[in-house]
């Protein structure tokens, strides 16, 4: 032990340095976000709750094609597709449930959907006292989608899935099959 280390040991130099550092941090600006009172702005590509979307004429987009169910790595989606009872040329999802207790928010289902019926939003604070409360039916997803229309469009734009929507084409990936121009549900 040299004289210097001995002196350092006697005078607690290292501890004093540590104390100085902690004291300095005591007067620094705090980085805590007081969550329910102040919120961070989320990015447009934020992977929040998934919603179902509608066309401009209020008709729901989902055609019950099962692609989202097929790609979902967490098996969170269940689709029962069927012929639409009123419009025999059109298919729809007779039952659609999304289990948010299983969903890992990977966003694959949105990429898989051929008609942009799905999108993610900035909603995340949906807790429930029961597990069933987090298994969303199609109606719930549609309601949430109506609430977060602009967020879902922003998500699709940021994720490069909006291009063909603006192209005005009535066929192809984003309009399948051509929709009857009525206002009633789908």
């Amino acid at each position: 032990m040299t004289l210097k280390t001995l002196l350092n040991n006697i005078l607690f130099t290292e501890i004093a340095q540590g104390l100085k550092l902690t004291l300095k941090h005591m007067f620094k600006k705090k980085i805590t976000v007081q969550y329910p009172h102040e919120k961070l702005t989320l990015a447009d590509g934020y992977r929040g709750f998934i919603v179902h979307r509608r066309y401009e004429n209020e008709q729901e987009r989902c055609v019950g094609c099962d692609l989202c169910e097929a790609i979902c790595p967490a098996k969170a989606i269940r689709v029962v597709g069927d012929i639409h009872p009123e419009f025999p040329e059109r298919r729809y999802a007779k039952e659609y449930t999304l289990d948010f207790t299983r969903c890992i928010f990977c966003g694959f289902c949105i990429v898989a959907c051929p008609v942009n019926a799905l999108a993610m939003t900035k909603e995340f604070a949906h807790s429930s006292f029961t597990r069933e409360g987090l298994i969303y039916s199609k109606d719930q997803l549609l309601a949430l989608g109506d609430k977060c229309e602009s967020e879902s469009i922003a998500y699709l734009k940021v994720r490069n899935m909006w291009g063909a929507e603006d192209s005005g084409k009535e066929e192809g990936r984003y309009h399948f099959p051509p929709i009857p121009t009525i206002n009633a549900g789908g």
Partner: protein
Amino acid sequence: MLNDLIGVLIVIAGLLFVVLTTVAYLTYLERKVLGFMQDRLGPMEVGPWGLLQPLADGIKLISKEDIIPSEANKAIFRIAPVISLVPALISFAVIPFGKNSFHFMGITTHPYITDINIGILYVLALSSVGAYGILLGGWASNSKYSLLGALRSAAQVISYELNAGMAIIGVLLLAGSLSLVKIEAAQSGGFWHWYIFPQIVAFVLYLISGIAETNRTPFDLPEAESELVAGFFTEYSGMRFSLYYLAEYMNMIIVSSIATILFLGGWNPPLPSLGFVPPFIWFMLKVYFFLFFFFWIRATLPRLRYDQLMKFGWKVMLPLSFANVIVTALVIYMVRR
């Protein structure tokens, strides 16, 4: 006679109130200080700036279920937290927190509950009794973690109490008394009379031993949460758990008070011209400085390893404190002759 009794009862009630509120708000203060030192805000939700947090915590702890492990030794398990708390509480009896006695309608209240001539010895003895609470609680829980925590605590308290006692002897030699009131009075008249200057080694030794005795970081091995879950009170819950907690914080206040009285002149103002500030305020200021120092150390230092702790206690602290006593005694003998 009756008047004396009433005076003492008033002081006891006042002291109890002050100590218990201080303990409650120490938990708040600790969380705030720790939070601020880690760039966080600490409790903010209950009341403005979280000021009602201790109240909410108290309600929570009281309303929690009281679980006693089925394999535990029930009687000892129940009594152990009390054994830990009561000595801490009655140690306050000899702490002189002010200078003046008040006379009011024939009732005299002193700034202490009692001034016994072995004051400091009384405090040391009681802190040893408090260690029994920890030991018995750990043993009676019948759990590995509790037992290990209790064993560590016993070893630690024994080694560091020795150092604390030896460190104090230097001050006692200077003051020539064991009474805390007399020790305080002997340091009056400016900060250059405080015993921190002739006894700086003893001061550092006492502070380190004090932290170790109250089981605070970096000496919190008995409750090392990363190895022993919660150490000796792993199995405790609800009110009994909070009794241990209260005892720990009360011990912190006692160690701070003793350090204030022995080394920083107690209620004496640092300069005689600052005498217009009530002595009680000076006392509180110094005690709170030490309490803040406890938190500060906790925010800064990691926990020691067990063998380091023992080595440091027996091979460094003990020889130093012996040397301090011998040197102090020699110097005093030379000067006084």
